[in-house]
């Protein structure tokens, strides 16, 4: 062992001391109390599992994996959703849907340390499995809004999209896989010039090409939904997706959450995983999203219990950073400790124990004779 390693810190790990740790704990408590308030049940899943559990999507390349004594490949959890899906399909198989489950803890990923991403991430999230899909979508977004509200985040925006819009239009375009990926990359960046270039020479009909380019600008208030319904009327899949989105936004509007909503039909990240509505949470003073979620109707089938599902999560690291920037951290110091000591070690300790029994915060003052 090289001694200098004992002082070094591997990139991407985090350590919180005192006040910072207290802020994080309070944030976690506030969020968890909202989850509990909506009758979600906590799951504390294992720290590692077979690597296959986390296979698929973009996670595999970010997973810390290792070989068990018996030669099987294990992985530290890079996310919670796969684990909760496995538990819902296994241990909780007999439990009737809908299942409402939440988690709060750390995941680890190989990520370049960048823009608020570390290798260790603390996630607080929930999954709603089964039940009426639109009701579940609306419920999950309402819970996300309540969490942010409860935390005191100013000016947060829930940007809602639906992967079916892009998927439907791309299907109409009939592109090769490679071109679809290039196109998606440009739609993600809201780059109309790039979309035009990605479609050049692909033999896409002008109407479909125009619709795909339009995806880069259809973002904003709810009027974007009306414009989209008109522009994409020729595409059944996109139309159905927009109708779902409208049902959910209408419900959220009626519930008084309209001021936090935005529509973003160019939101196509995570397309291999999400199957329906997707949303991301943004706020002024933080350049990247605080959290997000969406509907993933095909994941549970992998574990043998095909259930539609929707979930969302907040990144504790980002929430803490955002609250600090907005001056909204709960800075209240803990109660002052009362110094307790006695003539002898035993007497001092006895008074400390007695004060503790009454619920006081004590600092025990008896030490070894100086």
């Amino acid at each position: 062992m090289s001694a200098h390693r004992l002082a070094q810190v591997p990139p991407g790990v985090q350590c919180f001391v005192g006040e910072e740790a207290r802020h994080r704990r309070r944030i976690e408590e506030a969020v968890v109390s909202v989850f509990e308030g909506w009758d979600y049940e906590e799951i504390i899943p294992p720290l590692f599992d077979y690597a296959d559990v986390f296979a698929g999507e973009a996670l595999a390349s970010k997973t810390y994996s290792f070989v068990a004594r018996d030669g099987s490949l294990l992985a530290l959890r890079p996310d919670f959703t796969s684990l909760l899906a496995k538990i819902a399909a296994g241990r909780l198989r007999e439990r009737a849907a809908p299942l409402r489950l939440y988690y709060s803890g750390e995941v680890v990923r190989y990520e370049p340390v960048k823009a608020g991403r570390q290798s260790e991430l603390f996630q607080m999230g929930l999954e709603h499995l089964g039940g009426d899909a639109r009701a579940a979508d609306a419920e999950v977004i309402a819970i996300a809004a309540e969490c942010l509200d409860r935390l005191g985040v100013r000016g947060f925006v829930l940007a809602l999209g639906h992967v079916g819009v892009f998927a439907g239009l791309a299907e109409e375009a009939g592109l090769t896989v490679e071109r679809t990926l290039a196109l998606r990359d440009r739609v993600e960046s809201k780059d109309p010039a790039g979309v035009r270039q990605a479609l050049t020479g692909a033999g896409v009909s002008p109407a479909v090409a125009a619709a795909l380019e339009r995806l880069t600008t259809l973002a904003g208030g709810r009027e974007a939904l009306d414009q989209a319904a008109e522009a994409f009327a020729f595409c059944a899949k996109a139309k159905a997706a927009l109708a779902e989105l409208r049902t959910v936004t209408d419900a959220l509007e009626t519930a008084g959450l309209g001021r936090h909503l935005a529509v973003d039909l160019g939101e196509v990240r995570g397309l291999d995983y999400y199957t329906g509505l997707v949303f991301r949470v943004f706020a002024p003073d933080l350049g990247f999203e605080v959290g997000g979620g969406g509907r993933y109707d095909t994941l549970l089938a992998r574990f043998g219990r095909p259930l539609p599902a929707v979930g969302f999560m907040l990144g504790l690291d980002r929430v803490a950073l955002l609250l600090e920037r907005q001056g909204r951290l709960d800075k209240a110091p803990p109660a002052l400790a009362e110094k307790v000591s006695g003539e002898t070690l035993g007497a001092g300790l006895a008074s400390a124990v007695a004060r503790r029994a009454q619920g006081g915060r004590v600092r025990f003052g008896n030490g070894a004779p100086r």
Binding site: F156, D191, A193, F288
Partner: protein
């Protein structure tokens, strides 16, 4: 609070200034060497061209003007709603005249570039594992001095290449100046950002 705009101090500066003035937007008047300047309802940051996407991705700036070449190289996760039309150039592979890049010798080929990531991705995409040598500038002299077999660099007119006995043999990417916008600002400050985008769209027509 005003919107913050990150601009390159380099070759895109003149085009950016012309565009902002044409759009009737404020722009600092000869503030000398100051790097952070408030002007009207906007605040400007003047940074290195390769750093513009970073300032915008982290949300320190709400928007910025960056070349597509720089966006490809940095891989920054930002929105690119407008092709501003100026600063057109190409990123190319250039070799000493008469000594074109030979794919069959890729394993022993060295490529010098400021665009190390882009260069590596370009060759990797074709299954060619070349050695990329990252340089900060004056890339065109590398082949003549024996540091590299070829280079990946931007060309506007091709004069610099010719002066160094190089010729463009492959196009890696086409580039022009783009308006870039931070993802969170796009939603959390929508009205202001949209206003700016629309003014610049009109002016870049």
């Amino acid at each position: 609070m005003s919107l913050t705009v990150a601009l390159s101090k380099g070759k895109l500066l003149a085009g950016s200034e012309a565009l902002f003035r044409r759009a009737g937007l404020p722009f600092p008047n000869g503030e000398g060497r100051k790097l952070v300047v408030a002007s009207g309802e906007l605040r400007f940051l003047f940074v290195k061209d390769m750093d513009v996407p970073t300032y915008v991705e982290y949300g320190v700036a709400d928007c910025g003007v960056a070349g597509r070449d720089v966006l490809l190289e940095t891989g920054a996760d930002v929105l690119e709603p407008l092709d501003l039309g100026f600063g057109r150039c190409r990123v190319v592979v250039a070799s000493p005249a008469g000594r074109a890049f030979a794919p069959d010798r890729a394993s022993t080929t060295r490529v010098a570039s400021k665009y190390a990531r882009l260069a590596a991705a370009h060759f990797q995409g074709r299954g060619l594992g070349v050695e990329v040598v990252r340089l900060a500038g004056s890339v065109e002299i590398a082949p003549g001095l024996g540091l590299a077999d070829c280079i990946v660099d931007v060309v506007e007119t091709g004069r610099t290449l010719a002066e160094n006995g190089l010729e463009a043999v492959e196009i890696v990417a086409e580039s022009s100046a783009r308006l870039v916008v931070n993802r969170a600002s796009f939603h959390a400050r929508r009205a202001e950002v949209q206003g700016l985008v629309e003014k610049l769209r009109e002016a870049s027509r």
